[in-house]
């Protein structure tokens, strides 16, 4: 996935002011940055939820900027929003079925795969998703995204609001999904943990990329560590 010079925002001002980034096949790429840096808007722009005002977004060489969110989903790019990322009033199973809307013929097969990733969801498949615990809700959200057999996942703060133990679990799941050959682009507050499992990292501030490095390099970068990883120099 190649993102070049995207600009986007709400209302009159721009929030994302020309961001370039790239996600290689099968890679995990993490974007970190302070609050208000435009991380979330950036990922929404890639997902087609917020329209890009300029710049290009290409997946496997094909341009997807300007497409609506549902068209982006059809192209195998599955976005998981940070909040309100499940259908609360539907059962777990119905949620997953909705995930397979664009790929109905593979629904049964994908459902087995997702249950394989998250056995607990199979147990609770007839429960209302809104009544599940926070961790299980995230599993539903992620599972729904996986139903389309995506080539890339876009995750907006997948660990937000989870207990430390669950955060650990979440990252493990993401790693497993990634090992199955899905590229991951995520935005994270838990920067250190996220970078540890990533191939590449970006630091976003003021709507622009401040640093772009291999994840391990970024982790040891003193300035980044001080400013964005909460490590005292």
């Amino acid at each position: 996935m190649e993102v070049k010079g995207i600009v986007s925002g709400y209302g009159r001002g721009d929030i994302v002011k020309g961001v370039d980034l790239a996600v290689g096949q099968g890679e995990i790429v993490t974007v970190i940055g302070p609050n208000g840096a435009g991380k979330s808007t950036m990922i929404k722009t890639v997902a087609g939820v917020v329209p890009a005002r300029s710049g290009s977004i290409a997946v496997a060489g094909k341009e997807i900027s300007g497409l609506s969110a549902s068209e982006v989903a059809r192209r195998g790019v599955a976005y998981v929003p940070q909040e309100a990322n499940i259908f609360r009033s539907l059962t777990v199973r119905e949620n997953l079925e909705m995930g397979a809307w664009v790929l109905p013929e593979k629904q049964a097969e994908r459902l087995e795969m997702v249950y394989g990733f998250f056995p607990v969801l199979r147990e609770r498949r007839d429960r209302r998703a809104g009544n599940l615990s926070g961790g299980q809700r995230q599993m539903v959200a992620l599972g729904m995204a996986l139903m389309v057999d995506p080539t890339a996942l876009l995750l907006d703060e997948p660990s937000a609001g989870l207990s430390p133990k669950l955060v650990e679990e979440m990252f493990e799941i993401i790693a497993r999904v990634n090992q199955a050959g899905v590229a991951v682009l995520m935005v994270e507050q838990n920067a250190t943990q996220a970078l540890k499992m990533s191939d590449h990292g970006y630091v976003l501030a003021g709507g622009q990329v401040k640093f772009s490095e291999r994840a391990d390099v970024l982790l040891n970068h003193t300035e980044v560590a001080e400013l964005y990883l909460g490590v005292q120099g």
């Binding site: 939820v49 549902s70 309100a84 259908f87 109905p104």
Partner: protein
């Protein structure tokens, strides 16, 4: 007392299809569509047309009328609401009021103000251990219950129905997941329109058909939908029966002159103290 409950049930049965239709549309389109009353009127007149002008059997006329109403309602979306999808709810509310003025007067233009009724003879009641009812009232309840079950089946067991629930639950996520929201919206209008058509039939059976028949049902229908928890079809059904009961009781034990205010009072009290409705889940602040 049993009789009062039954009467409330009959009124509820008349309100229920309209309330479900209203709440379905609200769930997905996120504005209170005031034209629901005009849709009901269209239903009553379309059925009347097939019944009296075309001379069809009443059951056939009902189905034909329901189909016509569904189509007209869907057309109002294509022509009026669709280009304004992103407008704030209050603008759409005003638009829907204007639309209901238009539809009501198109009917008046064609059919005039006269009172009319379906070609069904009135029947005397049957008395059964203190309960009094007529065969039409049983049909009426049966039709409303059938519509309820049909709605339940659609929402629960069909892919489109589930997608409707999903879209009502979380529109953005539905788009993100690639659900064809245009198709879902079209289905919502068609189904909502069909329910309004049925409501037109039920109201026409019970009341008198004239250009304002649906307008008179608008506020009770709103009240039923809000009472049941807006966006929740099952709640709307229960809400309809409760509004029916509340109206009956006000007229019996308070002052009939204030009956038409009951719907409003229910709405106000409920919205203030339990905005999610009696049966709804609290809405998460986004």
């Amino acid at each position: 007392m049993l009789q009062v409950l039954f009467n409330g049930l009959v009124t509820g049965a008349i309100l229920a299809p309209g309330a479900i239709g209203f709440t379905l549309m609200f769930g997905i389109l996120r504005f209170p569509n005031f034209a629901i009353g005009a849709y009901i009127t269209i239903g009553a007149f379309a059925i009347l047309f097939f019944d009296q002008v075309a001379g069809w059997h009443i059951a056939l006329a009902m189905l034909g009328g329901i189909a016509v109403t569904a189509l007209v309602v869907w057309l109002t979306d294509l022509v009026v609401f669709r280009p304004m999808r992103q407008f704030p709810p209050i603008s759409l509310l005003v638009v829907s009021i204007a639309l209901s003025l238009i539809l009501e007067n198109v009917i008046r233009f064609i059919a005039g103000n006269d009172v009319r009724g379906f070609d069904i003879p009135l029947t005397r009641p049957v008395k059964l251990s203190g309960l009094m009812f007529t065969s039409e009232q049983l049909y009426l309840i049966a039709l409303a219950v059938a519509a309820m079950f049909a709605m339940h089946a659609i929402l629960k067991f069909t892919k489109l129905g589930k997608a409707m629930r999903a879209t009502a639950d979380n529109f953005t996520l539905a788009e993100v997941r690639g659900i064809d929201t245009d198709k879902v919206i079209a289905a919502t209008w068609l189904i909502g329109g069909a329910l309004a058509g049925l409501a037109g039939f039920l109201a026409g059976l019970d009341l008198v058909i004239e250009p304002l028949i649906g307008w008179h049902l608008t506020i009770p229908v709103f009240a039923a939908a809000i009472l049941g928890g807006i966006g929740s079809p099952y709640g709307a059904m229960a809400g309809a029966v409760l509004v029916g009961l509340a109206e009956e009781m006000t007229a019996l034990w308070f002052d009939p002159a204030y009956k038409v205010g009951v719907g409003f009072v229910i709405i106000a009290v409920l919205l203030l103290f339990r905005p999610q409705g009696l049966f709804g889940q609290p809405e998460i602040k986004k």
